[in-house]
């Protein structure tokens, strides 16, 4: 839980001894895989922002964004947006129609913990996260206290945000209520160099975002058994701006996203064994309007997920885990010929053994999609601790992971192909991790991973026999890369400092050939940067804290033959604040400058991102 009862403002979870038992045994950290957890100070910094901005500025995941408030999708290790799963407490919340999530719609302030599962590490959670999984966790704090947190902010381009959080309860019952809104005009100025010989300053229009929602959580604990009820509603009404090449009258493009996510969980702990039960029902609506093109697209989806897991020790140092997952989805869309449904069930068995300096995991998963039995997926991981009692690890894993086609790929009219096969990838990964106190106030963490993906039967839309495009399993992609990050922490008395740096290299190339003289074979995929680098420095002294974040994203090709590209960009953000404690409560004043050097840049060609912007935030937290 972010931030209370401490002197240094940006660092909390290290010092506070809270009883945090999430209980969810679907979410694990098996031996031999790469997983990182976003630092709570980073979550605090982005508590008024969205997941897209947070990931883009702090991780190796490239975010393809249409601009402030616009659709933002992840590209993880060279894979596509539908190959990254967004999970909420271990339940996949990607849209079944699109097979992906819009990260700009997920407010960081609602989430207690964010973990990133790279490549094969994603498999124990769910099927289909070929690139990886981003798990959003909301969880209880078992304390007898009441916490009220009010977070309001305002900033450039007509941006207003508000987040109210009330948590109360005792050691047996907890309730958490979160309510938020975010309004933004997003009417920023940008230099249009594309529509005339002389660049002209223009203001982005038809770019407003209105977002609101709430989350209600109840947690119950009886002895070692924990139950929970969670409800998450949100809506976003967005006008969508045109490409800056467009000189048409305002198209009136608008998108309304609405979702209601509900979840029940019950975890029974009996000795060393436990049983986890989860049921989730997710309703989503996505309506898209374009007055100019007379498009009125209305789409609704419902997903019911039931998941049951058993974890049991078998002998010393060895655990067996069996998970049964059943997911039914129903789509009602005026872009489909009929209502369409899909049913997927998976049965997963895994064995994890940790003995001495070795840790291993072997997993086997069978997938049942409607009436078909698919080729099973598997994963095997091995971990070796280099020195007894010290946190130096070498890890390796190999996996096969399948992705069921999205409903749009199968049923969109025209072009959807109900005969699509599932995409699958073979994933190989070796990594090295260390986490060591190097002298008294210094702690050093370092990791490096190399990976290779071979993705087969990848779905691509291509021109069909008639004058529309159709989906087929025609693409192969090979992605090879390296990720490395280092973080150095210094904690002494009232002074806290942290330096983090991360670099990733991704070479994701198209296989082939698909046509004669195929110019795309062996070329980097569009919109996958080969190089990304981010560095951040945070310092807190007494009540004051400051952080500086810099993010470099290398050039991204915008044609399949790599003949054209968008130049790389280097964006700097600066945040500073002061936290004024009043007994166990506090007031926090925070000031942000984003894109400090006012860089003119684009993530997607001809969709500008904003120049320098300011944001001021006041957080009042009362604990009783």
């Amino acid at each position: 839980m972010p931030l209370h009862g401490q002197i240094s403002a940006w660092d909390d979870t290290i010092k506070i001894k809270e009883v945090v038992i999430s209980g969810n045994k679907f979410i694990s950290d098996p031996s031999g895989y790469k997983k990182t957890t976003i630092d709570s100070s980073v979550l605090f910094n982005y508590s008024s922002g969205n997941l897209s901005d947070m990931l883009s500025e702090n991780t190796d995941i490239f975010i393809k964004s249409y601009g402030m408030g616009g659709t933002a999708t992840p590209a993880f290790r060279g894979t596509g947006a539908s190959h990254t799963l967004i999970d909420w407490n271990g339940i996949d919340i990607n849209s079944p129609m699109l097979g992906q999530s819009d990260l700009s719609l997920i407010p960081v302030g609602l989430i207690d913990d964010i973990s990133i599962y790279f490549g094969g590490a994603s498999i124990p959670l769910n099927s289909g996260g070929i690139g990886g999984t981003i798990n959003l966790e909301t969880k209880p704090v078992w304390k007898r206290e009441t916490l009220i947190s009010m977070n309001t902010g305002m900033g450039s381009f007509g941006r207003y945000t508000g987040l109210l959080k009330v948590r109360t309860g005792n050691y047996r019952f907890q309730t958490v209520t979160k309510v938020f809104f975010q309004n933004s005009e997003n009417n920023f100025r940008y230099l249009n160099t594309e529509i005339s010989a002389d660049p002209v300053w223009q203001t982005r229009t038809n770019n407003q975002v209105r977002q609101k929602g709430f989350m209600q959580e109840f947690y119950f604990r009886k002895e070692k058994n924990i139950g929970s009820v969670r409800i998450w509603y949100q809506s976003a009404d967005r006008n969508l701006p045109a490409s800056i090449l467009s000189q048409q009258p305002n198209s009136g493009e608008n998108q309304l996203d609405e979702s209601l996510r509900t979840m029940l969980t019950y975890d029974i702990l009996k000795g060393e064994s436990n049983i986890s039960l989860t049921g989730a029902w997710i309703f989503s609506r996505l309506n898209y309007f374009n007055n100019l093109a007379s498009i009125d697209s209305r789409n609704m989806s419902e997903i019911l997920t039931l998941k049951a897991g058993l974890q049991k020790p078998i002998g010393e140092n060895t655990k067996l885990k069996i998970v049964l997952d059943e997911k039914s989805s129903l789509i009602r869309s005026n872009n489909y010929n009929h209502n369409e449904s899909n049913n997927t069930a998976t049965l997963t068995a895994s064995v994890e053994r940790n003995r001495g300096r070795f840790g291993t995991m072997v997993l086997l998963r069978e997938l049942f999609n409607n009436h078909s039995i698919l080729i099973p997926d598997f994963s095997a991981g091995l971990q070796y601790r280099l020195f007894t009692g010290k946190n130096y690890f070498i890890k390796a894993n190999i996996s096969r992971n399948s992705k069921i086609p999205s409903m749009n790929d199968m049923f969109w009219e025209p072009g959807g192909n109900p005969d699509l096969k599932n995409e699958y990838a073979l994933i190989y990964e070796i990594s090295y991790e260390m986490n060591q106190k190097i002298s008294d106030p210094f702690n050093l963490k370092y990791d490096m991973a190399v990976f290779r993906y071979s993705i087969k039967d990848m779905i691509q839309w291509h021109p069909g026999e008639y004058s529309y495009w159709t989906a087929d399993n025609i693409k192969t992609v090979n992605s090879t890369g390296l990720e490395s990050s280092v973080s150095l922490d210094y904690i002494l008395n009232n002074l806290n400092a942290a330096l983090n740096a991360g670099y990733s290299f991704t070479k994701a190339v198209a296989g082939g050939p698909k046509i004669e003289n195929d110019g795309s074979v062996g070329k980097q995929l569009m919109y996958i940067p080969e190089n990304q680098f981010n560095v951040s420095f945070r310092i807190g002294f007494g009540s004051f804290y400051t952080s500086w974040m810099a993010d470099f994203t290398g050039k991204r090709y915008i044609t399949v033959d790599n003949s054209k590209y968008l130049p790389g960009y280097f964006i700097n953000n600066f945040k500073t604040g002061v936290r004024l404690p009043v007994k166990s409560s506090y007031i926090d004043l925070n000031f942000n400058v984003d894109n400090l050097f006012n860089k003119n840049y684009q993530s997607i060609a001809f969709y500008p991102l904003p120049g320098r912007s300011y944001f001021i935030k006041i957080l009042v937290q009362i604990i009783k």
Binding site: T193, E194, I195, S196, A197, S243, L245, S246, Q247, Q248, P249, L292, A293, S294, P414, H462, P463, E465, Y466, S467, Y468, W469, K514, I515, E516, D518, G519, S520, I558, T559, V560, D561, S563, K564, Y565, L566, P567, A605, F606
Partner: protein, 343 residues
């Protein structure tokens, strides 16, 4: 030394970023040849202008960007030349670029159009522009390069043919009519029902308007080639394509107004007096034939091959008898072509 040169090259490329070296394309376009509009991908903004030169037998790509230092726009759809100017209709950018057809410098940009498709010069002062998404044809003043009015058709519009004081405008998307406009007062005077989705039209030497109706993408209706007498504005003859799968497109005519050409599993050639659809193809389809053009000076047939629609396609040149001459790499989705004849 080589390393040194490479370093200089590297830094100059790094500085210039996406800009290609600017050259003077005038020397390539003074001669005869054909402009090729590369549509690029919808919403990707990578449409471009190429030119195939008869003098050098070579193709030159990305000319608009090279000369004007900015992209042509999103989905350039059609181009026509009038005297020293050329008009490029850029569909999803909602604009028309008016360029000098020799230097290729932009002379004006007419903006504020709704999904414009094709432009036809009506007379010395005005042009009509069809629209995919609006119900109106836009009237352009070609002296001031500005929009002066609209003709409400109550339906979308595609191909335009001017004949005397009449304009024939097809209602392609979801339609089945040809609208007739009196060009003197810009009024709709008649409509002629043809087949589903009239996509392209040409006028022959006998004053017959030939309309190719591709039947619609859901293939519920047969495609048709319809012959209209523009003296009476009545349908003279209809030729139905033999199978419901046939989806012909891109009707063209030679400069004599005698021979029709269109795409239907390859290029087909049909004399206007044949009295039936040609049963065989002149040039069988290889790749993804997308558009054709017939050189009014010598009858050469140019075919654009869109490949996989994501990478650079080709322009194929054939003699009028179907003999292959050359294949040149254009840009992404090469499409409409416009001849620049040697004066």
């Amino acid at each position: 030394m080589k390393t040194y040169i490479k370093l200089i090259l590297f830094f100059s490329l790094a500085i210039s970023c996406t800009k290609n070296p600017i050259f003077n394309p005038g020397k390539y376009t003074l001669g005869g040849g054909v402009f090729i509009l590369n549509e690029g991908n919808f919403r990707a903004g990578n449409g471009s202008l190429s030119f195939y030169s008869y003098d050098s037998s070579k193709i030159y790509n990305d000319l608009f960007y090279s000369v004007n230092g900015r992209p042509l726009g999103d989905v350039p759809n059609s181009m026509i030349i009038r005297e020293e100017k050329a008009y490029i209709v850029v569909n999803n950018s909602g604009k028309i670029e008016v360029i000098d057809n020799s230097t290729l410098e932009s002379k004006a940009t007419i903006s504020g159009l709704v999904s414009p498709r094709n432009l036809a010069i009506v007379n010395n002062s005005k042009a009509y522009v069809s629209s995919l998404y609006s119900d109106s044809v836009t009237i352009i003043d070609i002296f001031s390069n500005s929009i002066t009015g609209y003709i409400n058709l109550r339906r979308s519009s595609e191909a335009i043919i001017i004949a005397g004081n009449k304009a024939y405008i097809s209602n392609w998307m979801g339609g089945k009519e040809i609208m007739v406009i009196n060009t003197l007062n810009n009024q709709v005077v008649d409509s002629i029902e043809v087949g589903n989705e009239p996509e392209s039209m040409v006028l022959d030497k006998n004053g017959r308007l030939w309309v190719l109706c591709n039947g619609g993408w859901i293939r519920e209706n047969f495609a048709k080639l319809v012959e209209i007498n523009i003296g009476t504005d009545q349908v003279q003859q209809e030729y139905q394509f033999p199978t419901i799968q046939a989806s012909p497109s891109c009707l063209r005519i030679d400069s004599f107004g005698q021979t029709l050409y269109y795409l239907d599993n390859g290029v087909r050639k049909m004399d206007i007096n044949l009295g039936k659809l040609p049963p065989t193809v002149l040039i069988p389809e290889s790749g993804a034939f997308y558009k054709i053009a017939v050189n009014p000076a010598n009858g050469d047939i140019f075919i654009s091959d869109a490949g996989d629609y994501t990478q650079k396609g080709y322009v194929l040149l054939y003699k009028n008898d179907g003999t292959f001459v050359s294949k040149e790499r254009a840009d992404i989705i090469p499409a409409s072509m416009c001849f620049k004849l040697r004066y």
